[in-house]
């Protein structure tokens, strides 16, 4: 009897203390999260809602307060001409906008595809053991550390049509027959932007891929070696499937980044219709052309397009952000 009471006395209050402790922790957690949530609501949530609201108004840069609600007019409106023909106006009927959408998507997918392949090659090199590995890793961090604006300026000097070293190198090696105005010609402007972007962001891709490669247990390769599996087959049958989750996350990060590209194009190829992306066009309308509402409609649509592509990617690719076993 005595022991029984002692046991119950010893055991019963315990869950109560634990739940009180848990409750105290959950309460504290709420207070701890509050400042961050308020900050994010003010700096991200509210401006997003206001930008969307502006896209349904006739706001201009000089008259934000007096903006009138005009419905979907910025997106699509029509006019019936005297002849009876219907003329479509607005963002959805604007060829300049669809050109920018196409440029953005083309840029994003091309650059990320190159970065994924080149990043994999660099990661495989860094995953091998050889003398000077630390040096290579330090070297590839340099493009990553250089500010985008600085790299845009550096490369526009190297790509200069008259005094650029790349034209000189290309002619010396016999790759170019004449000097090319890389950033000024509409055929080569996109190539120039792609070169700079791939140079700058492949290191990021390589480091994320490398982290994935290092999680693959070494004994799998030893087993494959004993079974006499060819190295190329090892890559496609072992490495690629196992590194896939890490690669998919790296690709989505890069893709989201590439889809919003602004600074590189703004500096490297200003005023070139061949490289004008959604972000560049939207900012131009917002602040340079004094079409604030129209620019807001562009940024809203940009947001929707990126959200849509992201959801499709996550859904098709079964991406997991928790890094699997972390």
């Amino acid at each position: 009897m005595a022991t029984e009471t002692m046991v119950t006395a010893g055991v019963r209050p315990a869950p109560k203390i634990k739940s009180e402790l848990t409750q105290q922790r959950v309460r504290a957690a709420r207070w701890f999260l509050l400042p961050m949530l308020i900050a994010l609501a003010i700096v991200a949530g509210w401006p997003l809602l206001r930008s969307i609201y502006f896209s349904f108004t006739d706001a201009s840069l000089s008259n934000l307060e007096g903006a009138q609600f005009i419905g979907f007019g910025n997106y699509l409106r029509w006019q019936v001409l005297d002849s009876g023909a219907v003329r479509w106006r607005g963002l959805l009927a604007d060829p300049a906008w669809w050109n920018a959408v196409w440029n953005t998507v083309r840029f994003a997918f091309t650059s990320v595809a190159f970065e994924a392949v080149l990043g994999m090659i660099v990661a495989l090199v860094l995953n091998a053991e050889f003398r000077g590995r630390g040096l290579v890793r330090a070297a590839i961090l340099i493009p990553w550390a250089i500010p985008t604006i600085v790299s845009a300026r550096m490369w526009s000097w190297m790509l200069n049509d008259q005094f650029g070293i790349l034209n000189d190198l290309g002619m010396r090696l016999g790759l170019l027959s004449q000097k090319v105005a890389w950033t000024a010609t509409s055929e080569t402007a996109m190539t120039a932007v792609l070169i700079v972007d791939i140079w700058k962001t492949t290191p990021f891709m390589a480091l994320l891929t490398l982290a994935g490669l290092q999680m693959i247990p070494k004994d799998i390769y030893e087993a494959a070696e004993i079974d006499g599996v060819h190295p190329i087959k090892q890559f496609f049958k072992i490495t690629l499937p196992l590194v896939r989750p890490a690669l998919m996350v790296a690709i989505i990060f890069r893709l989201l980044d590439a889809l919003r590209i602004f600074d590189l194009i703004y500096v490297l190829t200003p005023n070139s219709a061949a490289t004008k992306t959604m972000s560049v066009l939207a900012r131009e309308n917002l602040f340079d052309f004094d079409k604030f509402a129209y620019g807001s409609a562009m940024s809203t649509l940009l947001f929707l397009i990126i959200a849509f592509l992201t959801i499709i990617y996550i859904w098709l690719g079964q991406v997991r952000f928790d890094g699997g076993d972390r």
């Binding site: 957690a29 961050m36 994010l40 700096v43 660099v122 550390a145 500010p147 000097w157 990021f204």
Partner: protein, 281 residues
């Protein structure tokens, strides 16, 4: 037989080192070329050289003594440092809650934070512009410190959460048994352990703020309030066609060298922080 085998081995070795050399040269060359260009002045600038030929500090003295570049440097340092402090201050408690306490909706909250950090900044630009003008901080450093929170805060929260989740639970249990409140646990138990993580995250957030261009271009209006990337982007000569390449390269080297040095010193930490947070390039 052995000879051919060795030849094959040698070829493989040579090809591998050729690839390694190629990677290193491509990575480093543009920065190297910017440095040698920055030391050229006058007509030497327009001669294409692959090796350093002249050593003139004209461009550096021109950049640092004329115009508002020194002021822009100070702006960038102040804005980036304040942004980092603000983000770390808000992120430490939030990431404790997200990593060590179980509550409903935690996963959803983490995904939302990740989504905000990958947000296209263009989508909020119009609304932020209105808000910044309303708050009366347009064309001041505070406009940038305020707006940079949108990408530094979610990023720091995300990385610190992954760091804190890996800390052993026993330390915390001992503190709980001693009757420590969550606040005491954070400040007395976790903070001392988190210095390396805070340095790494702070450094990455600093680089992000230092390199930011879109907000800095939009929310500042004159030479004295600009940050370094905007100053470099807008650096131009007396006419439209006369681009001062020498001065641009000198300014570029000045803003890049500290970053490269920091990144090389903190190499390992940065790589682990990058892989934990997936920061943008």
């Amino acid at each position: 037989m052995t000879a051919t085998f060795d030849l094959w081995k040698f070829t493989k070795w040579a090809l591998f080192y050729l690839l390694v050399t190629f990677i290193v040269v491509v990575s480093v060359f543009p920065f190297y070329y910017a440095i040698i260009t920055s030391f050229k002045s006058g007509t030497a600038l327009f001669q294409i050289d692959y090796w350093p030929t002249s050593f003139s500090l004209d461009n550096y003295t021109a950049v640092l003594s004329t115009g508002s570049f020194p002021r822009n440097l100070l702006n960038s340092i102040f804005i980036s440092a304040m942004t980092v402090l603000l983000a770390l201050f808000l992120a430490v408690t939030a990431s404790f809650a997200l990593s060590r306490v179980r509550f409903r909706g935690r996963g959803l909250l983490l995904l939302t934070i990740l989504a905000v950090s990958m947000f296209p900044q263009m989508a909020v630009l119009a609304g932020l512009f209105e808000l910044i003008r309303f708050m009366g901080i347009y064309n001041t450093p505070w406009a940038l410190i305020f707006s940079y929170t949108i990408f530094t805060l979610p990023f720091t929260v995300w990385v610190l959460t992954t760091f804190m989740r890996d800390l052993p639970v026993e330390i915390e249990e001992a503190a709980i048994v001693d009757g420590a409140t969550p606040w005491v646990i954070i400040t007395r138990v976790f903070l001392p352990l988190m210095w390396p993580a805070l340095v790494t995250t702070g450094l990455l957030a600093f680089i992000g703020a230092w390199n930011e261009f879109l907000f800095a271009l939009t929310f500042t209006a004159n030479n004295d309030t600009r940050t370094v990337p905007v100053a470099i982007a807008l650096l131009s000569g007396s006419t439209q066609y006369e681009i001062p390449w020498g001065r641009i390269m000198a300014a570029s080297v000045i803003v890049t060298v500290p970053l490269v040095v920091l990144v090389l010193i903190f190499q390992r930490k940065i790589v682990s922080g990058l892989t934990a947070g997936g920061v943008k390039g």
